[in-house]
């Protein structure tokens, strides 16, 4: 680096200085460290930390980076395993992202992560950099990113601030992922007052790699070079660090540091291509993306996962802002950066590739066998730590847990007491059906998804509005994967154990509906404050529920993210564990869409309908009610259902499959008809009789383990035989009718609605609040 004449040489707090001035008062509390944590750091070092060390510990021991409140629970994911769960797992939890063997020498890596708080402050940049961050996690596994998804939760749709957040978040995701050239293949868009001042913006990325291309974040081999490449380092996201600066930088110190980060998707696209070429030429021994905690995280994690030692000359970092202090450089969250470990003999070739892609690169130091992470600043030692104490052996808390005082009363308040229209009141049934169809959470999401490119890369076999996104991995064989994500915060509020399982069950069912075999899980656990014992109870229940269910379904959690402190004032959000399921499909040509494309097919309802309206969309939309217990979880039935659909897909028996979830059968039928504009005639009498439910329950109940499928009439016997053989309850409830202007959904003896009316109702809602759907 050439230092410009004006740059003041910063004289930092050195290790020698720390030894000499043990009495120095340090602003650990302003950096978010608790007194006991500060004492622990002093004990680990045998002296007070330098301000650089304090910077590193404070960011790495934060909740976000250290998982200090969640760690003891997350261990269950690794413990509750069966041999089958490990069969396809090439890399499990703990790495940047888990890696799953999908066969034919291919592997897939995927992960979902939150960027909630930044997206409320600056929705566009917050959401954009959220996508950027998760994509770098995928790159750092040696994979080429191939798709993204976004899981969004906003406040009430008609609240004044909601439009600001929605516009910013959606265009931020759209702009960043479209510019990266990654198809967006699905997600969720939910509105609820609990997310008013705390929207949830989760983003998922998926990558593919050949088995031999797997890379891990570790720094091994003493003498190997440590290289930082990508964007320059600026003062991004280090609002808090200025405290440290003022501590050591008496006057004329740095100006205000921003707490927001600005993304540069172009820089990231170039970084992706650059990394792919580095992998292809085998120039990288270990690699780590820079996200939260920037260089502090990358150096300490690389070192502790490798031989344990590293020496860094921090003044070699290329800066965007030359006034940054070393503490700030250590904490900066500037985007679009990566750190690699490179063999000295390959360094020239490495630099050749980064030069080709115009990616700025600096060699910062090397791997050592000292077991210490040593960082110098203009020749003076400012950090000398055991990297494991920074990255791995951070504090672990067993936070107080208490059963919420309010939950018994909430669970006692069942929706079964709410008024339901009589079977004969067909006008009221029709009205409620349409009201649900146009309600914000069930309404058409084209306003969002029309801003997302799903064509780029040319391998998207399914995307919105189908139940899951599907990507072809191998162009020769057709091998591919399918992914869906789900979470129902209302169910989780009623019962977080069951709610987390229901999220898993729904994502699993969505993936199964496409004909893929559900194989692995990622999750993003969005909760309130861990210091609130009731929230901690919700969290512990959710993790237990999810890990138990994964064990029963025998699909491992391969990685994920925890986001705490999602609350407005003292009011936490509903527990919202977003669960993503990845499925494998041998040939994407056999994929199943969520709607039927032809007339004259038989419609079957698989599964059993019970009176399960507690926490339902019906209770919410029609009665503004939340209470009772969520629908029963039946994982065995989910598995039977998934296996049935897969078998049917293998024999090409099933032309459409749509899972039943929010809004129940009524919504599934409407979506099936709207998908391709092909109508249906449906009779519910047999169903009501068999399951002993009234018409409103048949239409709106959210019983799980159900799916609506279309089968050509010649295959009736074969298909029913398949269902009976597998013990999946099956009932023919209708037939598909024509397409065209007269297409309609006819519910015999109840009501009829034209496809046009359904679409109009379903499509009007989001545009009413956010403006027209682009391109209609």
């Amino acid at each position: 680096m050439t230092e410009s004449a004006e740059t003041p040489v910063h004289h930092p707090d050195t290790v020698a200085n720390a030894i000499a001035t043990p009495e120095r008062v340090q602003p650990y509390d302003a950096l978010g460290l608790k007194p006991n944590e500060y004492e622990e750091i002093k004990k680990l070092l045998g002296r007070r930390p330098t301000s650089g060390e304090l910077a590193m510990y404070s960011v790495m021991w934060s909740e976000h980076c250290s998982y200090k409140s969640s760690k003891i629970y997350l261990r269950q994911f690794g413990k509750k395993v069966t041999p089958k769960m490990n069969e396809k797992l090439m890399v499990g939890m703990g790495e940047n992202a888990g890696v799953v063997d999908i066969g034919e020498g291919w592997a897939v890596t995927f992960k979902v992560e939150s960027h909630n708080h930044p997206s409320y402050i600056e929705p566009f940049q917050g959401a954009a950099t959220g996508v950027g961050g998760i994509v770098r996690d995928i790159i750092s596994m040696g994979a080429r990113p191939v798709a993204v998804m976004d899981q969004l939760r906003f406040g009430k749709i008609d609240e004044a601030d909601t439009a600001r957040v929605v516009h910013g978040v959606v265009s931020g995701i759209s702009s960043y992922s479209n510019c990266l050239g990654l198809p967006n293949i699905g997600g969720e868009t939910i509105f609820d007052p609990v997310y008013q001042a705390n929207p949830l913006v989760n983003a998922l990325a998926v990558g593919v790699l050949k088995h031999e291309d797997l890379h891990l974040a570790n720094a091994s081999g003493a003498g190997n070079k440590v290289v930082l490449f990508g964007a320059r380092t600026g003062g991004d996201g280090i609002g808090g660090a200025s405290i440290l600066a003022s501590d050591t930088f008496a006057e004329g110190g740095p100006t205000k540091r921003p707490s927001v980060q600005v993304g540069d998707p172009f820089a990231e696209k170039v970084l992706i291509e650059c990394c792919m070429e580095l992998y292809q030429q085998d120039l990288v021994e270990g690699i780590q993306d820079l996200g939260a905690a920037g260089i502090s995280c990358a150096t300490s994690e690389l070192a502790s996962n490798g031989d344990g030692g590293m020496f860094i000359e921090l003044d070699g970092v290329l800066l965007r802002d030359p006034s940054l202090t070393p503490e700030e450089i250590l904490m900066s969250e500037s985007q679009e950066r990566m750190m690699a470990v490179v063999e000295p003999s390959k360094l020239d070739a490495f630099l050749e590739v980064t030069k080709k892609w115009d990616v700025e690169t600096s060699v910062l130091g090397e791997v050592t066998d000292t077991g210490r992470l040593i960082i110098n600043w203009h020749g003076e030692e400012i950090v000398n730590v055991d990297p494991r104490t920074v990255a791995i052996d951070g504090p672990v808390y067993e936070r107080p847990v208490s059963y919420p005082a309010w939950i018994d009363a909430l669970q006692a308040d069942s929706a079964s007491t709410l008024a339901r229209p009589a079977d004969s009141d067909t006008a009221a049934l029709r009205e409620q059906f349409l009201k649900l169809l146009g309600s914000p959470n069930l309404a058409d999401k084209s306003w969002v998804t029309n801003q997302y490119d799903y064509y780029v890369l040319g391998n998207t076999a399914l995307s919105f509005p189908d139940d899951a996104g599907m990507i072809r991995v191998d162009e020769e064989s057709g091998l591919g994967f399918s992914i869906a994500t789900d979470a129902n915060g209302r169910y989780c509020q009623l019962d977080p154990y069951a709610g987390a399982q229901l999220a898993l069950a729904e994502a699993y069912r969505n993936v199964a509906a496409t004909g893929a075999v559900p194989t692995a899980v990622t999750d993003c656990l969005n909760f309130g404050s861990p210091e609130n014992p009731e929230v901690m109870w919700q969290f512990s229940q959710a993790v237990e529920g999810l890990s138990d269910a994964c064990q029963t379904l025998e699909i491992p959690v391969t990685g994920g993210n925890v986001s705490f402190y999602n609350q407005t004032g003292d009011v936490p959000i509903f527990p919202t564990p977003v669960v993503g399921v990845l499925g494998i499909i041998d040939d994407v040509a056999r994929r199943i869409p969520s709607g039927w494309q032809d007339a004259g097919e038989h419609l079957y309802l698989l599964g059993v309908t019970r009176e399960e309206l507690d926490g339902s969309t019906w209770a919410d939309v029609v009665h503004g009610h939340l209470g009772g217990r969520p629908p029963a979880v039946d994982l065995a039935a989910e598995r039977d259902l998934a296996e049935l659909i897969h078998a049917g897909a293998q024999e090409s028996l099933i032309s459409a499959a749509h899972d039943l979830s929010e809004g129940g059968l009524g919504q599934a039928l409407a979506e099936g008809v709207m998908r391709f504009g092909v109508g249906a005639r449906v009779w519910l009498a047999e169903l009501m009789q068999r399951d002993g439910v009234d018409a409103a329950t048949a239409l709106f109940s959210e019983s799980t383990a159900r799916m609506l499928v279309a089968v050509s009439h010649e295959d009736e016997v074969k298909f029913k035989g398949l269902c009976e053989g597998r013990g999946v309850p099956v009932l023919r409830i209708g037939v598909t009718t024509g397409a065209g202007e007269s297409a309609e959904l006819e519910l015999q003896d109840l009501f009829t609605a034209s496809v046009d009316d359904l679409r109009r109702t379903n499509r009007a809602t989001l545009p009413e609040y956010f403006g027209p759907v682009v391109g209609g």
Partner: protein, 85 residues
């Protein structure tokens, strides 16, 4: 009709990808004397009638709240037509 100019720039401490890309292009063209490029916005607002105090107040307000996003941008100048100062 009088035209008021409002100039908005990305905050100095934040990354400006647009300016960065432009600077890169200039360097590749051999114009490397430009050590930094930042790219902001220039609004021209045409007003009907004279520039009253109300108009000035409105311009100040919208410059801050509509034409710029104070989290990431600064209003660096507002120019009224000559003789309107």
């Amino acid at each position: 009709m009088p035209t008021i100019v409002v100039e908005v720039m990305p905050k100095a401490e934040l990354l400006d990808p647009q300016g960065k890309a432009t600077k890169g292009a200039l360097s590749r063209l051999g114009k490397s004397e430009f050590t930094d490029v930042r790219l902001g916005k220039r609004f021209e607002l045409t007003v009907e009638g004279p520039i009253t105090d109300q108009v000035r107040a409105d311009v100040a307000e919208i410059a801050e709240h509509v034409l710029s996003n104070s989290v990431i941008e600064d209003v660096v100048a507002i120019h009224y037509p000559e003789g309107e100062k």
